[in-house]
Symmetry: C2
Subunit: 431 residues, 2 copies
Amino acid sequence: MSSLGIVGGTVLTPDGRVESADILIDTDAGIIEAITEPGAAGATTSLDASDAVIIPGLVNAHTHVAMALLRGHADDKELHAWLEEDIFPVEATFTAGDVEAGAQLGMLEMIKGGTTTFCDMYFHEGAIADAAVESGLRCLLGHGILTLGKDEAGIVDDLETASSFVSAYHGSADGRIAAALMPHAVRTVDSATLTEVAAIATDLDVPIHLHCSETTGDVEAVLERDGDRPAAVASAAGVFDRDAFIAHGVHLDEDDLDVLAATGTGIAHCPTANLKLASGIAPIADALDRGVPVGIGTDGPASNNDLDMLEEVRQAALLAKAEQQDASALPAPTAIELGTVGGASLLGFDVGRIEVGAPADLAVIDLNAPKFTPRHDILSHLVYVANSGDVRHTICDGQILMRDREVLSLDETKVRETAAEAAVQAIGRVA
Amino acid sequence: MSSLGIVGGTVLTPDGRVESADILIDTDAGIIEAITEPGAAGATTSLDASDAVIIPGLVNAHTHVAMALLRGHADDKELHAWLEEDIFPVEATFTAGDVEAGAQLGMLEMIKGGTTTFCDMYFHEGAIADAAVESGLRCLLGHGILTLGKDEAGIVDDLETASSFVSAYHGSADGRIAAALMPHAVRTVDSATLTEVAAIATDLDVPIHLHCSETTGDVEAVLERDGDRPAAVASAAGVFDRDAFIAHGVHLDEDDLDVLAATGTGIAHCPTANLKLASGIAPIADALDRGVPVGIGTDGPASNNDLDMLEEVRQAALLAKAEQQDASALPAPTAIELGTVGGASLLGFDVGRIEVGAPADLAVIDLNAPKFTPRHDILSHLVYVANSGDVRHTICDGQILMRDREVLSLDETKVRETAAEAAVQAIGRVA
């Protein structure tokens, strides 16, 4: 057995304590073999975790990773105007190569920020899957299905692309890559197609992920089209009978939350993007009170503008307090849970807790900085102080993806150069 | 003349452009001598700015820097309960040595994050001034004056302490240290004393800084005590006839904003602390529309929990969009202005713009990271992506405070050890 020790540091336990321990990983099986007293783990290779805390790898529960090519291209605009005027025209020119270049860039950034699992919805999703295999990350991927503005043949084609993607990639890379059916949004997919998606998902036995109630415009458009609110429409179409989770859920009323709770449908909460696009603040504390599963996502890097899950966990904790007018809302221990095991549960991966026998998906957070001094409460520091630049090592499925800030699975220089060039070319095509 | 060149990078100009240039600093005078074509500046010493952008040093317009000792001590609690149960009891035991240790820690963190100027209100403020002189930072400091719960003798003593501090420190360290009169808040200082503070400030010719309308409780307490809202009470006391600025201003109505605009009274906006303590979201876009001067502050590091001004600039830009329900509110160029020249204007320092003849207060932001790839818009990256860990060099008053992440003016190891020990001791005294 090859083994990897992460030694000399502290470990965040599933019940929210931070204690001194070493972690021993069976790298062949990709699982945590033992959590031992400091110094007790004899391993083939070891990573230094002194003055650091080992946490479960962060789970980015909703993104469009290839949009890294477009970050900073257009800011300070409302969601639908931004999409229609600035984003869709460039995306329409993206080749599979562009998407792969953008995806590699985003994955590089996620590894540098301690994210080990993500959920992605886009097009040319096969290129994203290929990049994910190479990156070593764990992910749930799906082709975004749209019916708005498409004729019947176009819709059939989209469903076929989505199904073929699932058949080709679901369970690949030893289970690191999972696939889902991903109708883009209740607003942009008609209810007949939502029903069809639910049936296909049942046939293929995969979950469903879709945008829902991101803006007031989303809710109004669906009310006008179907006479009911987006959550009710998706539920009536059978979408929530599957393992399903929505992105955003900013404009969910009490009935909507009841629908989600009753069906076990989760929310991938994207607080920064919801602020940046002026969509609003999602009622996450209310959702949690009702038992709705919640994870945290960055959304695409063009609406954030980064993939920093530690910042996103902090933003979730901060915004819940404003939304509830209650400083005790979404306290630090809950926030870090949502950013790890909460998101993992939505995506259907049994990761997100540091336990013997669990997949070894870990991030080592370096606490050697003035901002982490003093150390009254390391969990507080993780939520209210840490960000992606503080991650020392990233491990996924027992493999070292980043050691001492150096990414091992991707060539950083090459990925950045290729993506920068693709980004300039793409903008140039529509300028 | 000794000179310092910052070479090979780009410069953020006062009109919001980013262009390739070198900066030549007269280190004796502490001013920017020239902004030249790349390669043209011959200097005694030089700092590398390749793959980086030189911005004005950030200005933290409101903090209580010594509270770095208490970060993470208690979180997820409402402002007044947090203060009364967790903070005041420990602060009551702080010696001048504790305050100096906390202040040095906070200053170390600010230098590492590219902040070159800050405004601080606390007690044992002389210890903070001494730390500031050593740190090389520029600052506006004041002793916090309180009347709530004090007898007449106590109030006289507080005013005397505040005045003596001004006399001892205002204009010291070649003008790097300025002092102000700082009545703690409209809520905690009676209106007769506010009137007296305004008169003393006029005699001493210094500005006034105070908390105002941070919570709904603040507004209600002053309404009950004085029959008017805090801004009107401070204005009637003559506080706003001086150069004055308030902290927070979360609960300002239209009349309050009119009072601020009419008197040229500014707001030090602390978005993260206002979220964390569930105080609310300040109406900053409305304030700017009326011509109210605005700067950005972190508030004390125990209610944030760090001193990262780049994160704070981002939070200001994001929250304004939610508060206005308008994604174009507080766009990136405005946000970075508020975090630099906006704050500097409040504090009364003529810094915050990169211009020939201006004081050389600068931060060099390293763009060599996946998250800054591609480079469609560097200003967007500064606001929506960068944080304190991306600062490569910090220069204040022409002196290098940090070079390649190494702080030169303070001994990082010693400052951190001393502060950590002081923090543990302080908590131990009340446990």
